[in-house]
């Protein structure tokens, strides 16, 4: 019995020695409409002299995070599914546990949830359907939810509602985002919503609630708003 215990301790110690030392780096998402404004939600922004907008909801899935060095993957996050919610300060920062001496120059991730996960049945954690990011009238995750009001919307409520998702062709909405980054103690990715709104044409389209051509187009536009600036 004692011998077994000694052997166990020996192997455990060995495993600890072999394991690479790690560090935690925060990956922060900073969605903004005006770069100098600290809050995004429920703040009215004026732009283009006569237009205004305010956002009520911004939620999106980030998945499959990896780090690359010279175009080669050097680290991949396991079980990498995160719901980022502008209303939940904590969710805007993801903590990545990576090897201490890892060299990388690019971060890559998906905006949304991949097809395999979309068909894998019910899942938990950030993927639990209680998170309000799963369609119920048909199967599939909503990759991005953006809601608010703007004078650009020609209805009495002036409301816009974008629920972007779809995992089947021809309306596959998953986007892959690759951003060059330098090795620092933390990574910050900005999301420029002004760029999105200016290109989205709210006057023409203010409601997207199912997988369709508009959802694909807007998903691409939204993905283009991420930068390492």
């Amino acid at each position: 019995m004692r011998l077994l215990l000694i052997l166990f301790i020996f192997h455990w110690g060995e495993a600890q020695l072999v394991a690479q030392p790690t560090k935690v780096i925060p990956l922060r998402f900073k969605p903004y409409f005006e770069s100098n404004s600290s809050t995004l939600l429920n703040t009215t922004f004026h732009f283009n002299s006569a237009d205004s907008i305010h956002f009520e909801t911004l939620r999106f899935y980030i998945s499959g995070i990896e780090l690359q060095n010279q175009s080669k993957t050097v680290w991949k996050e396991k079980n990498s599914f995160h719901l980022v919610d502008a209303a939940q300060e904590n969710s805007l920062t993801l903590l990545l546990t990576i090897p201490k001496k890892l060299e990388y120059n690019t971060i890559l991730f998906h905006l949304g949830i991949d097809s395999n996960t979309n068909t894998a049945g019910v899942l938990g954690g950030d993927l639990d359907p209680t998170k309000g990011m799963y369609w119920t009238w048909q199967s599939g995750y909503i990759n991005v939810k953006l809601e608010g009001k703007s004078n650009l919307v020609n209805t009495t409520s002036h409301a816009f509602e974008f629920h972007l998702g779809g995992y089947l062709n021809p309306f596959q909405t998953l986007q892959t985002i690759t951003i060059p980054c330098i090795q620092k103690e933390e990574l910050t990715l900005s999301i420029d919503l002004k760029q999105f709104i200016e290109l989205a044409n709210l006057t023409g389209t203010h409601q997207v609630m199912s997988p369709n051509e508009e959802a694909v187009k807007l998903s691409k536009l939204f993905a283009n708003c991420f930068s390492g600036k």
Binding site: M1, N118, T119, A120, G121, V122, L123, G124, L127, D128, P129, T130, K131, G132, Y134, T136, W137, Q138, S139, G140, L168, P170, F171, P211, N212
Partner: protein
């Protein structure tokens, strides 16, 4: 020391044996294809099935606690809603479709009449959130279940945690539905050489294989495809079926081919319940087909059946009734849980 080691080993053996007693497996009926659901990855567990059964029969899943899954999927009617062409849900609101009969769901790839749902584990979300069915949300269901007296212990038994999640709630309902297997009709006993068709049934089976089997493929009596079977569009409902989900023009007017098992009990028929009797169904296939671009090629040529042949075909269809399924006590209302 040796004695204590032996005791520990003995205890853990008992624990493992007890735990494995919780696991149960899906017995695939002989001659049936491999189920589509991955049981190796998601094994069935008795306590999860039992929890799912309680949830299936509990109106707590609806906004005002009046409608359960069983309201539209009654076990004695092959888990569907008889008497109503279009099923009625909360506050007697009427939907646009006839509730489908639930059985042999482990073999399905897609669910609902238009295949909107891709996995049985997420199927219950659809009626739960539908405004005219249960008009509830999974978030609120979880809150109600957590506050109830009976559910936290049942979740602890099933999932090792009394903190209730949407994932576990839906998983449990899915596991119960997976156990609804009907494979013991007269047809099955004839195939197993345990009994014989009457002459009339035998002739009906011959006609069935001539005219129906391409879509209603044995042994599940569906090929799980979506077909336009020549029904005219109900202009009050304007339901064009699968096209709503796939956005493919070719899918206009296509609906899931339903199983014919227990058809005697699952009336009325078709996605909108427009036919009350099998006689009306056969009349449609012999003289009511509406031609359109997406009509199933198998129905291009009219099916010719004499009056006697229609009677024989019906006699065969009645051999698909499985009373051991309809009256299986394991599928019935769990009085011991919900009304202790």
């Amino acid at each position: 020391m040796k004695k204590s080691i032996t005791f520990v080993i003995l205890l853990s053996t008992i624990a493992i044996a007890f735990k494995s007693g919780e696991q149960t497996s899906m017995k695939v009926p002989s001659g049936w294809p491999k189920p589509n659901y991955d049981f190796a990855k998601h094994p069935l567990k008795r306590s999860t099935i039992e929890l799912g059964r309680a949830l299936f029969y509990d109106p707590i899943l609806s906004r005002n606690n009046t409608i359960s899954c069983a309201s539209c999927h009654s076990p004695y009617n092959a888990f569907t809603h008889v008497d109503h062409a279009l099923s009625h849900g909360i506050e007697d609101k009427i939907g646009t479709r006839n509730s489908p009969a639930l059985m042999n769901l482990a073999w399905n790839k897609l669910f609902m009449w238009d295949g909107a749902v891709n996995n049985i584990e997420v199927q219950a979300l659809a009626p739960m959130h539908n405004k005219v069915e249960m008009d509830e949300t999974i978030e609120h269901v979880v809150t109600k279940l957590q506050a109830s007296k009976i559910y936290p212990p049942l979740f602890r038994k099933a999932f090792g945690d009394s903190v209730i999640t949407g994932e576990n709630t839906l998983k449990a309902i899915g596991q119960f539905m997976l156990t609804l297997v009907s494979a013991n009709a007269k047809y099955d006993s004839v195939m197993r050489h345990q009994s014989k068709f009457t002459m009339q049934e035998e002739n009906g089976y011959r006609l069935f294989k001539m005219h129906c089997v391409v879509c209603h493929t044995e042994p599940l009596f569906t090929n799980h495809s979506f077909e336009n079977n020549g029904l005219s569009v109900d202009t009050a409902l304007n339901d064009y079926g699968r096209i709503r989900i796939s956005h493919h023009y070719n899918d206009s007017l296509k609906f899931k081919v339903p199983t014919l098992r227990n058809i005697e009990y699952s009336y009325p028929y078709m996605h909108d319940g427009r036919f009350k009797t099998l006689t009306a169904v056969l009349k449609h296939y012999t003289s009511g087909i509406q031609k359109s671009k997406t009509l199933s090629p198998k129905l291009e040529q009219p099916i010719v059946l004499s009056a006697n042949e229609q009677v024989d075909l019906t006699a065969f269809l009645l051999t698909l009734s499985d009373k051991s399924f309809l009256f299986n006590p394991n599928f019935a209302y769990p009085k011991h849980i919900l009304l202790p």
